[in-house]
Symmetry: C2
Subunit: 213 residues, 2 copies
């Protein structure tokens, strides 16, 4: 398809598409003349992700470039490719390692991962921004005086593991590796609000079932 | 305990405690003299929640007053009391009812709730901010071209229902109704980041198990 149709089908203005092409966010179309190029479904998909990152996630353009570089990196194995793309997204800053709540949170999370047998999560614990985000979130609870330990976290970790299995099953329905990586990045930004709304709605539903309105 | 000890144990400055007392966020202590009052564990708990709302949730003081009024409202049944306290928190604005993605999202969520037998969620659908948040989140996915329908949402809804059951089981370990309501409000603000970090960590773990690093 030509640029006009790509713009119309993706809902992204022609000016924005040209900007994304120049910035290297969108791969060039196939040249079919001196001034025209031909675009395909992969360009629609990529524009969708760029919109999700920039409009919904408010991710800076330089960061989008880095995320997409990992999405397209055929040299990495699948887990590292998905990981690298996700890890390039803006993340929570490193917490103060001397902070008492941080030390306790880290210890309880270590115990949780050991008991649950999450070996990769333990190996990557100093690298992974997801691990760091968990430490920061648990430390915030502890600092405010809410008692959370490995035992209380364990059943939640197991339900989140089942949620992750659903995510991966869905991922396998996507043919290419870069499409898989695109889906993971979009889900990280767009699906978290769905999960958290479902969680709150379920709390209302189950509370009404147990206690009435 | 006296104000100085309350300040030291809660980590909240004496000046802030006096401000919260004047604003009616913290119930007065038991008077034991013309200038001194006696505080107990319920004041420590309440200060914890006020800090969570103001410092972590960045909730405006007037909203905190409204949330706490519901937390302390003995006239409501348990579900409505928890709901009223949660619903007083800042929420996503009402989406445009004419928007095509919003209409589709609402229809798929209706189908989901019907199939899953979530009768209260259906009855409260025009009132509940959690329902509205779900409509907005699914509409965002649809608008960007990601296909989500009732069937794809269903297994996630079931896992979030099991997560909600864990929440309620924990709630039952709290003796008083106002303590239960306090816990629900704190969890809504502070526990969502824990769940979402556990979810991402589980994705890394399960991806490594399936595909290697």
């Amino acid at each position: 398809m030509r640029l006009a149709e790509l713009s119309q089908r993706s809902g992204v203005s022609a000016a924005s598409i040209k900007y994304y092409l120049r910035a290297g966010l969108l791969p060039p179309g196939r040249r079919v003349g001196t001034t025209t190029a031909d675009y395909d479904e992969s360009h629609i998909r990529r524009l969708r992700l760029i919109r999700a990152l920039i409009q919904v996630g408010r991710v800076p353009v330089a960061t989008v470039q880095e995320v997409l570089r990992h999405v397209d990196d055929d040299s990495l194995g699948r887990t590292m490719r998905l990981g690298a793309a996700l890890w390039a997204l803006p993340q929570v800053p490193e917490p103060d390692p001397e902070d008492e709540a941080v030390i306790t949170a880290r210890r309880e999370i270590d115990r949780l991962l050991e008991t649950a047998g999450w070996t990769t999560a333990r190996e990557l614990s100093t690298l992974s921004p997801s691990h760091r985000a968990l430490v920061v979130a648990v430390a915030t609870l502890l600092r405010l005086g809410y008692r959370w330990d490995a035992e209380r976290l364990a059943p939640y970790a197991e339900l989140m593991r089942q949620t992750a299995l659903l995510d991966l099953d869905y991922l396998e329905t996507h043919p290419s590796e870069s499409e898989k990586a695109e889906t993971v990045v979009a889900a990280a930004l767009l699906f978290e609000p769905v999960l958290s709304a479902l969680h709150r709605l379920a709390q209302e539903e189950e509370s009404a079932r147990r206690y009435g309105l």
